[in-house]
Amino acid sequence: MPFNNALKYIKRLYTEFMVRIYDNPPKIFGFLGFIILSTLPFMMETSVLRIFTTANILAIYALSWDLLVGRTGQISLGHALFYGAGAYGSALLYKYLQWPAWLTVPISIILCAMIAIVIGIPALRVKGPYLALLTFSFPLAFEGFTHYYSDIFGGDTGIRPIPKFYSGLGYSQVLIANYYFALILMAISAIIIYKIATSTTGITFISILDDELASKACGINVTKYKLMSFMLSGMFGGLAGAVYAHLIEGRVDPHFISTTLSIFPIIVTVIGGLGSLYGPIIGTYIYNLLDQYVFISIIPLDPSVRIVVYVAIVVFLIIKWPRGIARVIVEKLEDLQEPREIEEILKGKKEKLVKTHASA
């Protein structure tokens, strides 16, 4: 029996450890969320469905940004570079080689990884605001290229049309298929990112965020890990861009590398919670619902006014809940659970005390 108890204790410690290591709420939330989201097509009208389809793909993009900024602490203000590179890479492969989307998307993800390495080797030597400025310049340069080499990139018109992932479905069927495609892709990406974040590699990422010098003293090759997170982040960013181009837009244009897209993950991640798994996802849902439903149907606002509202929300959240909405919800849920546990522990201790007194 003591052996069994020891086993239970170790098991509990381990789960507690895994839960707390990133303040990630238990997996059950993710599972329940997935179930609710997968029943959405039966309950919601098509316009809402379309919002959630884009939200799911943009959530991958937000997660990719968070993997770099929220975990390793390398601030990137130009993540649209990867989003655009993924989309343009895939579109160019179709334009010149006529390969199907199933093939061009994975290849453009690998391309994004290579871009991340080539840019990261010099760029990650600078820190903080300097890195932010440097990364900010990359998508601007890319946008310039698309205009300068307009015979390749298509200038303002971009490259259109590019093929969809599947054909031969009716209008409403395509909508539902797109929705599930995006949802499952987001779930898979989130699981992969969760696995990376809770591995020893993920712990090392956080150690670099917390204290680079101490990380070096621990024998960690900081540059290598920074580059690794930059590369992983670029790959998921590229995936989001390429899938968005093929699945929803059916074309690529300079909007894919616009500054708005570089700013988007910052707003979304601050709303949801930096350095967490559910934060960027929940943040993206909130943002997309506001942007494409609330500010169009309920309170009509001009896009240029909306950005002021988002900034106001971000400022409010940074002051009130700097750790984001997702974490606040989780903490509230944990608070409901914890007092009972503490009481039980205290009870156990009291009994022990009584026993020792009795034996003495």
Binding site: D210, C218, G219
Partner: protein
């Protein structure tokens, strides 16, 4: 052959000579103490040895290999590990994950025997310094004394051949100091070689057989604790009397 040889190490910051022509050896299995008033260049000396600062002149030879100017992570992977004077925990990580970071370095990964998982080994390291109760607590909630011990556990996870401790007793209360002395004594009995920089002479003198005294970047005296305590130059430096 000594484990660590420092030859004529010199570092200037502008017009200030922080470390001036310092040479000394550390033999295997010994504890060397380095003392000196504030600003004597002790921490700079550590930074020079562990690669955080590149020296203007001089050599650092570890196990017969010239390691001068190599990056800190490479030097740590060779088995020359340091702690910091001001604690530098990974604040967002739980205590145990702090110890998992060194175990993820090339040297750390090699030292995990195949029966153990990194988590198991990290638990052992924390038990050695008496932190196993706090292992799931985020490091930002730990007290200063606990953080000093965590710093120690993190360094020990790399199984160093030479451990450089920068003021291990700094900011500790008498009880914590006593605990830290015992920990260091146990490590010494296990055969670990250490260099300790310290202000608290009382605690240090219990541990070491050989002391180096630094003043304005130079070594002014070397000898056993008894000799140092009687040395007029050292007394002058510490008490401010005329030399």
């Amino acid at each position: 052959m000594p484990l660590l040889e420092v030859e004529n190490l010199t570092k200037r910051f502008g017009g200030l000579i922080a470390v001036n022509n310092v040479s000394f050896n550390v033999d295997e299995g010994e504890i060397l103490g380095i003392i000196g008033p504030n600003g004597a260049g002790k921490t700079t000396l550590f930074n020079l040895i562990t690669g955080y600062i590149k020296p203007d002149f001089g050599k650092v030879i570890f196990k017969g290999e010239d390691i001068t100017g190599q990056p800190p992570n490479k030097i740590a992977n060779k088995g020359l590990v340091r702690t910091f004077q001001i604690v530098r925990p990974f604040r967002h990580l739980p205590t145990i994950a702090n110890v998992l970071v060194p175990l993820n370095s090339p040297r750390g990964r090699k030292r995990i025997e195949w029966v153990k998982t990194p988590e198991r080994k990290a638990m052992d390291m924390l038990e050695d310094v008496g932190l196993s109760d706090l292992m799931l607590e985020p490091a930002e909630n730990l007290s200063h004394g606990d953080l000093k011990r965590l710093e120690m556990a993190r360094a020990m996870a790399l199984e160093p051949e030479l451990l450089l401790l920068d003021e291990p007793f700094g900011g500790l209360n008498p009880v914590e100091t006593e605990y830290m002395i015992k920990t260091i004594q146990r490590l010494h009995l296990d055969g670990h070689t250490m260099v300790i920089v310290e202000h608290k002479l009382h605690a240090l003198m219990k541990l070491v057989k050989r002391v180096i005294v630094m003043h304005y970047g130079e070594i002014i005296a070397e000898g056993t604790p008894e000799e140092i305590a009687k040395n007029k130059k050292v007394i002058g430096v510490y008490l401010g009397r005329a030399i």
